[in-house]
Symmetry: C2
Subunit: 232 residues, 2 copies
Amino acid sequence: MQVTPELLSRFDLLKPLPREALEQLAPQASLARFARRAVALRAGVREDKVCFLFEGRLQGVGFTIDGREVGLYFVEPGDFCGELALFDDNPQPEFVIATTAASVVYVARNPLREVMLNTSTVSNTIGRKLAERVRQMTMQRTLLGLSNIPQRVCGQLYLLINEAHRKAESSEIANPPTHMEIAIMLNLSRETVTRVFQALQSRRIVRRDGPSRLIVTDLASLRRFAQGEEEL
Amino acid sequence: MQVTPELLSRFDLLKPLPREALEQLAPQASLARFARRAVALRAGVREDKVCFLFEGRLQGVGFTIDGREVGLYFVEPGDFCGELALFDDNPQPEFVIATTAASVVYVARNPLREVMLNTSTVSNTIGRKLAERVRQMTMQRTLLGLSNIPQRVCGQLYLLINEAHRKAESSEIANPPTHMEIAIMLNLSRETVTRVFQALQSRRIVRRDGPSRLIVTDLASLRRFAQGEEEL
DNA sequence: AAATTGACGTGACCGGAGTCACAATAGCTG
DNA sequence: CAGCTATTGTGACTCCGGTCACGTCAATTT
């Protein structure tokens, strides 16, 4: 599948690049479509490409030896993943799979690496992204330290809102993760997540609006639960 | 406390720098000594310095809202931490505290940032370091996904060996973390870690040699437990 | 329209890690 | 050496989240 320079320039990371750079990258890029649960990047192998998400949603996941899934982060359209390959030759540490049908652009690692080294805006952006990823993982790890389980779930929910907008007293999450997806991010069973959601719904703190919208009616209460100021 | 260019050049990251660069950094650097449990870098604040460890050992830790400690990673002599400040202005995500008496060199963030941008070997090294950190955190997160607790402890133990040398059939860990330190890295209670160690010792898989040396007598068995091929 | 699938909901049971309360060392320090 | 503190070692009890075994419901597929 042919990739045009125009398509590449629709990604924030590549937008500032001069035309020539894009034309250099485009022939080495390819387009792919994925069904739900398809694998975009493999763990343990030295991937020779970086994955830019065009539409849909991806998730970084690990697998423990006993086959249990471990949720790490989400990738939203316009963003990219697999950027570790730009820094060294070590393998990709986690899988990236599609949580919905998705279309992505793969850009070959080596030319992109060249571009990164020559373009300070690109290397800055990638550096910031990596730094943000470390912060993200640290927060996620801190969440796992909470022994109060409802609090852990509320904390995750609150983080999911932050990414969008957390100002108002109520908020909403479009295309929320399934209970199962939340469970594997938090080291919990799916049932436990369901039970916490039931408790939140009965207290009118969250509400479902159709399958693809979760509305947080009472953001202040959610935050209090997340902070542990109040017990669920 | 005065810091000489020579002192700076003893760190791998700064070694390749030309003399002038070191002389530029040195006046903006300072030396500090810490007692056990002292704080080297604070979470939540925009630290304006990067911390180079000269001797002792540091640990990155988070604190959950309920005061529980969360162990993230160790810093060994010659290495550095707090490098996220070089990428953006967001706050340091985790505390860094001394697990033993330690001496460190603080280097001011801004001049170091300049040096990084101008010296590709430095930016490459820091990039690799950050990438390695992400891999490290991913592995650690995967460990936490293990529901079999002895397996989790063995996995951590195995990781600790890797950092040093994992080739031979027996190995040793110098200055091993205390049970408590292992516990907070694995989201476990101290007692649970102690019990696992008791089990490992009674099976002659590990052995203590004084306070500061832990000897792994049977590395193959340890690996089997870590991989879940055998139950403890 | 029937059948299949995947997400969500719910109860009962149980095992195992946390917690608490101590004891026993082992290093330090004065 | 005595005294203090940190670390390790152990038992008893409790509780709570995992597991299992269902049922419901909506969306797709055939």
